[in-house]
């Protein structure tokens, strides 16, 4: 056990800090949350700066344009960018954090060449079309059909909760290529250009009153078979590759930011009971930050522990407890959202216990994989 960073890691940190110091003052102000054209531009502009600065695709292998950074360097990156309040990954989330890595593991050379470098440069925005009205937690029950017609698939069906679909260039889509096979065996994973004929996108209004995600209707959409990643009907296996990345480091920035928010809130809290509870919230986040580091230590040794499964569940619930406390501290100053980050966050974080595997599903997974308890029906 050791708390110190190596000299090389400290050099990496210092260089990153310097780069952030020179880059961030030149950023345009963050656009309004409903101005999606501007948001796309702002987020992809940041991605381009990361690329030019040598920080894009930190965890991607060098041969695909990434940085091949160690897991600890990635932690340092999250730590420093969050502390400097640099832009979050934003609309680049799907491409850089899970579609790209999936292509690296499962894609053909042509697929890699077509997308990886564009993702890293901020030239291509991805969305994720996995969920359907009838397939949420039970994702494998999805029904969107892909019928083979010569060298094309013909797609018919409906996707939902598709974040960034209205501004995305391509999407990772799950479709049913064999309706007669058991549900996990008839799925394929496709790269779907979002401008194909027959795709209709309708934004859905969230509890924030804004439109972060969309419904996607697919009517006789023709897509070449060459857009499939992995073998036909082997899409469930590919999906698990994607989910592994999606649930991986997605929460590290938020977690570090939560520690900062605790300090901000301490400055406006005066009631002794509120402060004690705030100390408790801080302990939750600090404990999860230690667990994140421990998880990296274990993964680096090739013996991953339960941390990866625990962090998403525990963070999302801790963050909601913290949000509740913030509302109580704000009292009537919590009745408006404009300029009120804490209230906006209380609403936004309601999704954390649902998206990317609801808390109940996470508990099923932990009790089955860590403790070996009997499995739920699949």
């Amino acid at each position: 056990m050791e708390l110190r960073y190596t000299e090389a890691e400290e050099v990496f940190r210092a260089a990153l800090r310097e780069w952030l110091n020179s880059e961030l003052p030149g950023m345009a102000p963050q656009p309004h949350r409903e101005d999606w054209v501007a948001r796309r531009k702002w987020d992809t502009d940041w991605q381009r700066r990361l690329f030019d600065g040598g920080y894009a695709g930190l965890n991607w292998p060098k041969e695909f344009g990434g940085q091949g950074a160690t897991p600890t360097e990635q932690l340092i990156f999250f730590e420093e960018t969050t502390k400097a309040q640099a832009p979050y990954v934003g609309v680049n989330f799907v491409g850089t954090l899970h579609a790209g890595p999936t292509l690296i593991e499962e894609g053909t050379d042509a697929q890699k060449a077509a997308h990886l470098s564009k993702i890293l440069r901020g030239d291509e925005v991805w969305c994720q079309g996995f969920s359907e009205p009838g397939a949420g937690s039970d994702l494998a029950s999805l029904r969107t059909r892909a019928d083979r017609d010569g060298d094309d698939y013909v797609l018919n069906g409906q996707k939902i909760w598709c974040s960034f679909a209205h501004i995305a260039d391509v999407g990772e889509f799950l479709v049913r290529t064999d309706p007669d096979a058991p549900k996990h065996r008839g799925i394929s994973w496709l790269v779907l250009p979002m401008d194909l004929a027959g795709i209709e996108i309708r934004p859905i209004k969230t509890v924030l009153g804004s439109s972060e995600f969309c419904e996607v209707f697919l009517t006789d959409v023709r897509v070449p078979v060459s857009q499939r990643v992995g073998a036909e009907n082997d899409g469930w296996r590919v999906t698990n590759v994607t989910l592994k990345y999606e649930r991986g480091t997605a929460f590290v920035s938020e977690l570090i930011d939560s520690l900062r928010l605790c300090a901000d809130v301490a400055a406006i809290a005066s009631d002794a009971a509120h402060l004690r509870e705030l100390g408790r919230c801080y302990a939750d986040f600090a404990g999860l930050w230690s667990l994140t580091k421990r998880n990296v230590s274990q993964t680096s040794r090739g013996t991953p522990g339960a941390g990866g499964m625990v962090i998403k569940l525990a963070y999302s619930e801790a963050r909601q407890r913290f949000g509740e406390l913030c509302l109580r501290i704000l009292d009537r100053e919590g009745l408006y959202l404009d300029g009120n980050e804490l209230v906006e966050e209380r609403l936004r974080t309601m999704s954390l216990t649902i998206a990317a595997g609801a808390s109940q599903i996470q508990r099923n997974i932990i009790s089955e994989r860590v403790l070996g308890l009997p499995r739920e029906p699949r």
């Binding site: 056990m1 708390l3 110190r4 600890t72 302990a283 580091k293 525990a314 860590v370 739920e376």
Partner: protein
């Protein structure tokens, strides 16, 4: 010592790491094997006495730092002591190097293990000592933790100063870390024993561990253990660092989370065991009661959370 090894030097080239090193894994296996051999549940139920002290002392448990081990190593050993629910004023013995229990100056009248120790240390603005036979009081015939006898001492006098203000702070910090490690061991053992029970206990023709209401109780036990373990290891590793920036807060976090993990897992374990969990015979209550006892040592979660908030 049975798990002898060369103590490692702080190495500037190794990266931030909160997992056991190969040496620490074998040390952990060593202490586990020792405790398994000597502290079966019957022996544990006999409580603390001179021979328990002697055996642990011979094994080096109370002289780890003097023997060149680091605080992270000590935390690993105390986690295992907690796993086996080994009774006694173990943390006080390890910190003082003598057969002693401890009290805190703001509430010094309830003394643990008075009949089995040579002296009692009192931690306040400084550290003081009283000879155990100089303290008199009423031994409770019904202590909360049946393996931790408590004596209500009237007007205890701690006259001999054995440590200054800085020593008192050190005592509190190191004591909190070792106690948290022990609490982690309690939490972790309760999770394991409850999972085993849930797999073997059949109701409605299936293991109770197939019911989601039970699975989710158990998953939450794992969550608490994982977070507490990372926090305790981080705090112990921090004690080994020459700088103390942020040390107090890291320790407060560890003690809070490990304490709550032990107590909450005690409650969950009782629930999973059903009526068996409410019996004297099943060990759950011993762990649960030790968890409550240790929550009063070196600051409870309320005081630590207050301190964290004040530091923000």
């Amino acid at each position: 010592m049975m798990w002898q090894r060369t103590p490692t030097q702080l190495c500037l080239e190794c990266s931030v790491d909160l997992e056991l090193s190969a040496d620490q894994v074998s040390m952990c296996d060593g202490i586990r094997a020792l405790l398994q051999g000597r502290f079966n549940p019957e022996r544990v139920r006999e409580g603390f006495n001179q021979s328990v002290y002697q055996e642990l002392n011979d094994a080096g448990v109370f002289s780890l730092i003097a023997d060149g081990f680091c605080w992270a190593d000590a935390a690993i050993v105390f986690e295992q002591l907690g796993t086996f629910c080994v009774p006694g004023p173990l943390v006080a013995c390890a910190l003082s190097g003598e057969l002693a229990s401890h009290v805190e100056a703001h509430n010094p009248t309830v003394v643990e293990h008075l009949g089995h120790v040579d002296s009692v240390l009192c931690i306040g603005a400084d550290v003081r000592r009283a000879r155990a036979d100089s303290l008199t009081g009423v031994l409770s015939d019904w202590p909360l933790d049946p393996l931790t006898p408590v004596t209500r001492v009237s007007a205890p006098a701690f006259t001999a100063i054995v440590g200054d203000a800085a020593a008192a702070i050190e005592w509190r910090q190191r004591g909190a870390v070792l106690t948290a490690a022990y609490q982690l061991g309690i939490a972790s053992h309760l999770a394991d024993m409850s999972a085993e029970y849930a797999k073997s206990r059949i109701q409605f023709d299936r293991p109770i561990g197939s019911f989601q209401a039970v699975k989710h109780l158990l998953a939450d036990m794992v969550v608490r253990v994982e977070i507490a373990r990372a926090s305790v290891y981080a705090a112990a590793a921090h004690l080994d660092e020459p700088t103390d920036s942020g040390l107090a807060r890291t320790i407060a976090v560890a003690k809070t989370l490990a304490g709550e993990a032990a107590i909450a897992n005690g409650k969950a374990a009782t629930q999973v065991h059903g009526g068996m969990g409410y019996t004297w015979e099943v060990d759950v209550h011993l762990y649960m009661k030790r968890a409550w006892l240790l929550e009063t040592h070196f600051g409870n979660s309320d005081s630590h959370c207050d301190a964290i908030a004040a530091s923000l």
